[in-house]
C-alpha cells in the first residue's frame, strides 16, 4: 500500500501490456547490453534517472529503485555477470524501497528512508552537475587549442651573485685574534717545572734507606731542582708531601726543631715499627 510521501510510486508494469512497457523493456535491455559502459551503479542510476525527464532533485527514488531492481533481475535472467557493486547497490535499493513502502518505525535507529532517498537524489544531482562542469571546462579556450603561449620563449639567463658577508666587527675580531695569537693558546698545564708527588715518593722511598741518620729535606731534592726558585718550590713541596705519606705508612720519621727550621728525615727502624 503506497504511502502518501511516495507519490511517484506506481505498480511494476506488466511487460507485455502496452507500448510504454515495451519501450521500457527495450531501454532496460539496452542498459543491460551497455553495462560495461557504465562507471558503476551510480552512473547507471543517473542514466535511469534521466529517463524520468524531471529535475534530478524531484526524481522518484522509489521508481528509480524499482527500475534498478528490474534491471538487475533481467541481467540475471540473461545470465549477465554483474560486478559486486551492482549487486550491493541492488540490495541497498531493495532495503530502501521496503522502508519507503512501510510506515516509519518509531523505534528504528539511523537515518529515515526519506533521508536516504534524498541523499541518493543529491548524489545523482551532484554527479550530474560535476559532469556538466567537466564538459564546460573542456569546452573552454584551452592553452594549445585556442590560446597559445609564446612559441619561442626567450631564455632567461640565471646569474649567481655571491654577496660576501663581513662586518667591521669580523674584521676587528680577526685582527685581534692575530695580534694576540701568542698569548692565546689552548690551556695546557706546564709540566716541565713541576715535580710530582709520585716522582717524590719514588725518590724518597729509594733514598731513605741509605740516609741512616737525620737528613735534611734539601738533600732529597732531585738534581737540578735546587737552583731555580720555581723548580725548587715544586720539588720541596712534592718531597714534603711524599714524606708525610711515608710517615703515615710508618716508614720514616720527621723532625723540625723550630718554626721554619729545616725539616729532616730518618728511616724508622724495624724495631720501632713493632
Amino acid at each position: 500500500m503506497p504511502r502518501p510521501h511516495a507519490p511517484h510510486l506506481r505498480p511494476v508494469p506488466d511487460p507485455d501490456h502496452d507500448a510504454d512497457a515495451v519501450a521500457q523493456r527495450r531501454a532496460d535491455e539496452a542498459l543491460i547490453v551497455d553495462v560495461e559502459g557504465y562507471e558503476g551503479p551510480l552512473d547507471l542510476l543517473l542514466t535511469m534517472a534521466r529517463t524520468q525527464k524531471v529535475d534530478l532533485l524531484k526524481i522518484s527514488v522509489l521508481e528509480l529503485a524499482e527500475q534498478y531492481l528490474v534491471f538487475v533481475e533481467k541481467a540475471r535472467a540473461l545470465r549477465i555477470e554483474l560486478a559486486a557493486d551492482y549487486l550491493v547497490m541492488a540490495a541497498w535499493l531493495a532495503f530502501l524501497k521496503s522502508r519507503l513502502l512501510l510506515p516509519p518505525d518509531p523505534e528504528a535507529e539511523g537515518p529515515s528512508a526519506e533521508d536516504m532517498a534524498e541523499h541518493l537524489a543529491f548524489q545523482l544531482e551532484r554527479l550530474s552537475a560535476m559532469r556538466q562542469a567537466a564538459e564546460r571546462l573542456m569546452g573552454r579556450d584551452r592553452l594549445g587549442q585556442t590560446r597559445f603561449a609564446r612559441g619561442a620563449p626567450e631564455t632567461v639567463t640565471r646569474a649567481r651573485r655571491t654577496e660576501w658577508q663581513a662586518g667591521l666587527i669580523d674584521l676587528m675580531r680577526a685582527y685581534a685574534r692575530l695580534k694576540t695569537k701568542d698569548e692565546f693558546r689552548p690551556f695546557a698545564f706546564d709540566r716541565t717545572d713541576v715535580f710530582t708527588m709520585e716522582q717524590a715518593l719514588d725518590r724518597l722511598r729509594r733514598m731513605i734507606g741509605f740516609a741512616g741518620q737525620w737528613t735534611d729535606l734539601s738533600v732529597f731534592l732531585p738534581e737540578g731542582w735546587s737552583s731555580e726558585p720555581a723548580r725548587r718550590r715544586s720539588a720541596t713541596a712534592a718531597t714534603f708531601a711524599a714524606s708525610l705519606e711515608l710517615a703515615r705508612q710508618g716508614r720514616l720519621e720527621i723532625r723540625q726543631s723550630d718554626t721554619f727550621a729545616p725539616i729532616s728525615y730518618r728511616e724508622r727502624s724495624n724495631d720501632d715499627r713493632a
Partner: protein
C-alpha cells in the same frame, strides 16, 4: 659589494618605461610571471602592478592579450584567432572520462580527498587517473586533512588555470550556481545514509602493488 643602496638613490624609471620592461619580461617568459618575480627583476622602486595594469589595457582587443593566471601574468594569443593556429595546435592528450570528471571534481571541490572524489563519482578512483592529472601538472597535493588518518587532499595548479584560461579557481564556470544549489557542500554520508561504495576489487586489478596512498606519502 652591495648594489642595493646605490640604486635606491636613483628615481624609478618613468611608467612608460616600466610598461616596456613588463612587456619584455612577459613576452619572453614561457610561463606566467608573478608580480613578485616582476618586482625582483625590475629596477628598484618600480611599480609592476601599475605597469601591468597599463599594459593590460593597451593590449585589450589585440591579437595577443595579457592574461592574469593565478598569481602570475602571461601573454596569450586571443582565442578568436585560434583558426589561424592550426600549425601550433598541440594534439591534446586524450583524457578518459574518469580523468576529466576527477579533474572537475578536484577543481570545484578543492581541497578534496580521494575518498570524497570516490563518494562523488560513486566509484573508486584508480591511481592511474590521479597520476595522469598530477603528471600533466594540472593537479597537485594540497595539505593533509586534519581528520583521522590525515588523508591527502588534491588541488588544481596554476598550470590548470593557465590551460583553461582561468584567472583563479574562483572563476570556474558555474561555480557560484553550484555553490548556491548546495552541490559543492561536503556532506559526509552518515552510516547507512548513502549506498555503500564498492569497486575496490577492480582497483586491485589495476594496481596490485598496493594502495595509492603510498605514492603520495612524501608530501
Amino acid at each position: 659589494m652591495t648594489t642595493a643602496p646605490d640604486t635606491a638613490d636613483f628615481p624609478p624609471p618613468p611608467m612608460a618605461e616600466q610598461e616596456r620592461m613588463v612587456e619584455a619580461i612577459l613576452f619572453a617568459a614561457p610561463a606566467p610571471v608573478s608580480m613578485r618575480e616582476l618586482a625582483a627583476r625590475m629596477p628598484q622602486g618600480c611599480d609592476p602592478a601599475e605597469a601591468v595594469r597599463a599594459l593590460r589595457a593597451s593590449y585589450a582587443g589585440r591579437g595577443v592579450v595579457l592574461e592574469r593566471i593565478g598569481d602570475g601574468y602571461a601573454f596569450r594569443t586571443a582565442p578568436d584567432l585560434s583558426f589561424l593556429m592550426q600549425t601550433e595546435t598541440v594534439e591534446a592528450r586524450r583524457l578518459s572520462r574518469a580523468a576529466i570528471e576527477t579533474l572537475a571534481i578536484i577543481a570545484y571541490h578543492q581541497p578534496v580527498t580521494r575518498a570524497e572524489i570516490e563518494e562523488i563519482r560513486g566509484v573508486a578512483v584508480n591511481r592511474g587517473t590521479l597520476d595522469q592529472l598530477i603528471e600533466m601538472e594540472w593537479v597537485r597535493m594540497g595539505r593533509r586533512r586534519q581528520t583521522p588518518g590525515r588523508p591527502a587532499t588534491f588541488v588544481v595548479t596554476e598550470g590548470f588555470l593557465d590551460h583553461f584560461g582561468l584567472e583563479s579557481a574562483r572563476d570556474l564556470p558555474g561555480l557560484s550556481e553550484l555553490r548556491a544549489a548546495g552541490l559543492l557542500e561536503s556532506r559526509p554520508p552518515s552510516d547507512g545514509l548513502a549506498p555503500p561504495l564498492v569497486g575496490r576489487d577492480d582497483e586491485d586489478d589495476i594496481e596490485p602493488e598496493g594502495p595509492a596512498e603510498d605514492l603520495f606519502e612524501d608530501e
